[in-house]
């Protein structure tokens, strides 16, 4: 089975400065069709700009300095702007972190979903808006017909994120990029939205690139995980294996910083570990890699 997405030695950074200062120094990973792949790392490690590079939405001073992004065997970086545009939304879709600001405040949510059908399936607006109601129903928005006529400000954060998901999945994409999709939500809403993404993508056969700094969420959602640190992918493994047996010092540090249920913080032997106390010299971190090859034949 060939991977859906292959990221090979991706390098990106500021293109305008003569130095070509790289923010992403060397990132390679594969995502198989239908697989959910997690990308973890602290903020600033480059998870988000990696995902923006894949969907081709890097903003100007940022650009790709080297490497390849193959999607269904096609090099995305070699595509024309027009070809890349027809990929976006139709084959690769994205859900962003901030549901409060990610929707156009002046258009009804129904219309914003309908725009996907008009754009990619050539439907008329009326038909598209009917399809949008179905899409809202599929993300379990109660009263979808009435809700389709709502404006974003009339909805809660959780509902808006459902709208974003309905919009992203409208054209049954092959890959969904979810960039911290639940970070801004309440914990209870968070669980529902995660469940929704998991179930819908499973039923559509959509692969997910799931970006989070929250290891708990990653553990729940992803089959495999890549750990990013300072613009490099430093460790990659099956989720269970990674949690059971972190190999890289940075991963150990990340896991150590995670509070465990039942552990007494002050008096017990287990203590929350500051990453810097585990890692003495950050500069050696990016030099070591622990990439566990995907078991061939499986997945």
């Amino acid at each position: 089975m060939t991977p859906l997405l292959e990221v090979r030695n991706l390098q990106l950074g500021l293109t305008r400065s003569g130095l070509g200062h790289a923010l992403i120094k060397d990132v390679s990973f594969d995502i198989m069709p239908g697989e959910t792949y997690g990308l973890v790392g602290e903020s600033g490690s480059g998870k988000s700009i990696t995902s923006l590079a894949i969907i081709g939405l890097l903003k100007k001073p940022l650009g790709i300095l080297g490497g390849q992004i193959n999607f269904r065997g096609q090099d995305l970086l070699a595509l024309s702007r027009r070809e890349m545009r027809s990929m976006r939304g139709r084959r690769i879709a994205m859900v962003f972190q901030e549901p409060m600001t990610a929707l156009n405040p002046l258009a009804t949510v129904g219309r914003q979903i309908a725009e996907m059908y008009v754009l990619h399936q050539g439907k008329g607006w009326q038909e598209a808006e009917r399809a949008a109601v179905d899409a809202l129903a599929s993300v379990r928005v109660p009263n979808p017909e009435r809700r389709a006529r709502d404006y974003p400000h009339q909805m809660s954060g959780g509902l808006r994120q459902r709208v974003m998901i309905a919009m992203a999945l409208a054209c049954k994409p092959d890959l969904l990029i979810a960039d911290e999709p639940t970070t801004a939500l309440d914990v209870t809403v968070q669980a529902e939205v995660l469940k929704l993404i998991k179930e819908l993508c499973a039923s559509l056969g959509t692969a997910v690139l799931f970006i989070s700094h929250d290891l708990g969420v990653i553990a729940e959602m992803c089959q495999r995980v890549g750990v990013m640190y300072d613009g490099c992918l430093v460790e990659e493994n099956e989720t269970a294996a990674l949690f059971a047996n972190p190999l890289h010092d940075y991963t150990k540090g990340l896991l150590g910083a995670l509070p465990r249920m039942g552990s007494r913080l002050e008096h017990g032997r287990r203590r929350l570990v500051d990453i810097d106390s585990v890692i003495k010299d950050r500069s050696v971190l990016t030099a070591t890699r622990f990439i566990v090859p995907r078991p061939s034949g499986a997945a």
Binding site: L57, F96, T101, L103, N104, L106, L119
Partner: protein, 311 residues
């Protein structure tokens, strides 16, 4: 929606009442009266008998509270009083001049919008470009320009040197007479509007929902047409309304310069003649104009932006 409109319209009333009160207070402390100003040029000796008669005729001999009561009861009947100078009702004088002023203000605003909005838009789409820098430099220069000086220079070049356009006056009311005063009056709103449009569009372009629109696979043009334009329009319309309302204030000088028969030149002439009823009436009408336009803007705004109606 209807309730919103009605509420906004009703809000005009207390403001205009306070302004009327304010104007009355200011002018009731006027030291010189119209009658005494007749003799202020010193060519004729003041005639106490004539002055007393005039003061009596205009009710200026009565105590302040009686004059105030008369003023308010007249106002309530939409009677702005009678001009000391021409003996005609103030409302009639204003009505004669209103259209010329409206014409000038609308022409100036159209001139400003037609140039400023596209310019601000293009500048925002290419920040840091030559066009953007030129727009910003032009805008701050336009804001610093004394309009009547620009008008004087335009008059000198286009009317006196090139003989292309009439230098002043309303003439037959044709477009040719309107061009110079409208361009002169339009420069400041043009500069302000270009600046606000640019800032507003830049804000919208950096908004998260624009990134979402791109992630849907919309083309640059579609994103701008469907998502950026409408959101930027909210700010642009607000600015246009504010500018249109304040235009009449600036028009005073321009009308005087080009001898344009609007309410601005009526106001200036009446001030120098101490024709107080006309001054009071004109200022009230100008304030009312400003408030009506602001209300209209709020209503349009509520139609465009669904978030407003809620509050």
């Amino acid at each position: 929606m209807l309730r919103f409109v009605v509420r906004r319209i009703l809000q005009i009333i207390p403001t205009i009442a306070v302004v009327a009160l304010l104007i009355f207070v200011i002018f009731s402390v006027v030291p010189g009266t119209f009658a005494s100003s007749l003799f202020s040029d010193g060519k004729r000796a003041a005639d106490p008998q004539l002055m007393a008669r005039l003061n009596e005729q205009f009710g200026l001999d009565k105590p302040v509270h009686e004059r105030f009561a008369a003023y308010i009861s007249d106002l309530a009947r939409l009677d702005l009083g009678t001009s000391f100078r021409t003996r005609r009702p103030v409302l009639e004088l204003i009505n004669d001049r209103m259209w010329a002023s409206l014409q000038l203000a609308i022409a100036a605003m159209v001139f400003a919008i037609v140039i400023a909005v596209p310019l601000g838009f293009l500048a925002a789409l290419r920040p840091g470009s030559v066009l953007d820098s030129l727009t910003m430099v032009g805008a701050v220069s336009g804001l610093s320009l004394p309009q009547f000086w620009l008008g004087l220079l335009l008059m000198y070049v286009f009317a006196l040197k090139l003989n292309l356009l009439p230098s002043f006056g309303y003439g037959d009311g044709s477009l040719r007479h309107l061009i110079l005063p409208a361009v002169t009056l339009g420069v400041t709103p043009l500069a302000l509007l270009a600046r606000t449009t640019r800032a507003g569009v830049l804000d919208v372009l950096n908004a998260d929902f624009v990134r979402t629109a791109h992630s849907k696979g919309l083309s640059e043009a579609q994103v701008i047409r469907r998502h950026v334009a409408r959101n930027a329009l909210v700010l642009i319309i607000t600015t246009v309304g504010l500018l249109f309302g304040s235009l009449i204030g600036q028009a005073v000088v321009i009308e005087k310069l080009f001898a344009w028969p609007g309410i601005g030149s009526l106001l200036v002439d009446s001030v120098s003649m101490r024709d107080i009823p006309v001054v009071q009436g004109t200022i009230l009408v100008i304030v009312l104009w400003f408030l009506v336009i602001n209300t209209a803007v709020d209503v349009v705004y509520a139609f465009i932006d669904p978030r407003i109606k809620q509050g």
